[in-house]
């Protein structure tokens, strides 16, 4: 049993960690990946994205990888961001927390439509 749990992540941080979990991305790439993975429900503006990136870098969850050209876009060099070991651990802890919540809900037979009748 864990004695001290990691604090829950904010939605923006969780989405950014998820977007970076498969590959390094630059700012615009992160925005688009978050939009894709949330089926368009989460749209981050530059203010939210870079504010979160700054805090995540300060917390050691991500780091700048390098500055290079994205062949799919143009010839401008972009800063890429990547997860650190701490970032991967934080994402893992958060996903474990979500899995536990889903397990409890399943145990209670709470389906997505369980409260549809308003009771």
């Amino acid at each position: 049993m864990k004695t001290k749990a990691d604090p829950p992540l904010t939605p923006a941080v969780l989405h950014i960690l998820l977007a970076l979990s498969t590959e390094e991305r630059h700012g615009y790439g992160i925005m688009k990946q978050v939009e894709r993975e949330s089926h368009g429900k989460v749209k981050m503006g530059p203010g939210t994205l870079y504010g979160s990136l700054g805090r995540m870098m300060d917390a050691g969850l991500i780091r700048e990888s390098d500055k290079r050209v994205d062949p799919a876009m143009d010839d401008e060099r972009r800063i890429y961001y990547t997860l650190t070991a701490l970032g991967r651990k934080a994402l893992q802890s958060e996903l474990d927390r979500y899995r536990e919540v889903v397990a409890v809900a399943t145990e209670k037979r709470l389906t997505p439509n369980a409260f549809a009748d308003g009771t």
Binding site: Y28, M31, P46, T48, Y50, G54, M73, R78
Partner: protein, 263 residues
């Protein structure tokens, strides 16, 4: 589809907006943010949908980020604690005077003693704390003593101008609506200096303009026979001019921050 000229204009405005971020944040993320904005512009124009609404929405979202980062930076410093303590000390004076029943005779109203209500404490508290934080925000970029002194005098002049008008009024008494003309002076000083981001040259022009505005308001009150307190007006004109001169001096002096800011 938005024409290239329109997109270029929005990019320039966005670049200017990014200058309002705290310097460390701007140096770290200013370029990638401008690049991301360009990517979003390209995406919108390629999709040929709602470019102006998108641009305004992004400006609003980034403005919220600017406020958040500035507040966050301010909260990380000891400035907030320092100014909360200063505000508490200022408010403690009338509070103690009320508790100890000490008073200053006021021949005008015939009353004696300090009798502040909760609203008086709230207004003065907000004024002092707000002025202190404004000073900290503006002087964070100041590289020389003259620059900081100029900001300090300007903020103090603004604070006292509001205070005097609320307490006794520069024209007649505090209830005289003619005192609202002094809001014009504050508007000139604050908006002028803010547009120039408290940079010495721009702020010095704003301070001289505020001195002029103060003199104009006093002149209007004099001509209209409203009985302005000309000595007080002269004091404030002198304060705005002193601030303007110090800003100008700061613009002449080489400062380490002004050198790095342009790199």
């Amino acid at each position: 589809m938005a024409p290239d000229r329109t997109i270029g204009r929005y990019r320039r405005w966005y670049g200017r907006l990014l200058r309002l971020y705290p310097r460390p944040f701007r140096e770290r993320f200013g370029e990638p943010m401008a690049q991301t904005f360009s990517d979003l512009c390209r995406e919108r124009t390629d999709a040929n949908r709602g470019f102006h609404a998108f641009a305004l929405g992004t400006f609003a979202e980034t403005t919220a980020g600017i406020v958040r980062e500035n507040v966050s930076q301010l909260m990380q410093t000891r400035a907030v604690i320092r100014w909360v303590l200063i505000t508490a000390a200022v408010l403690a004076v009338p509070a103690l005077a009320m508790v100890l029943n000490l008073g200053v005779p006021d021949p005008g109203s015939g009353t004696e003693g300090v009798n502040w209500g909760p609203m008086d404490f709230a207004i003065i508290g907000v004024l002092v704390l707000g002025s202190g934080l404004l000073f900290e925000y503006a002087s964070a970029r100041a590289g020389s003593f003259a620059h900081k002194a100029a900001i300090g005098i300007a903020v103090a002049a603004g604070l006292f101008l509001i205070w005097v008008n609320l307490a006794v009024g520069m024209i007649g008494d505090e209830g005289n609506p003619a005192n609202l003309m002094y809001l014009f002076v504050l508007f000139v000083a604050l908006v002028g200096a803010s547009i120039g981001r408290f940079e010495p040259r721009e702020a010095s022009i704003a301070m001289f303009a505020a001195a002029g505005a103060q003199a104009v308001v006093a002149g209007i009150a004099l001509v209209a026979g409203l009985g302005p307190e000309l000595r007080a007006d002269a004091f404030f004109v002198a304060a705005w001019v002193a601030s303007g001169l110090l800003f100008r001096q700061a613009g002449i002096e080489p400062s380490p921050t002004s050198n790095t800011a342009n790199q």
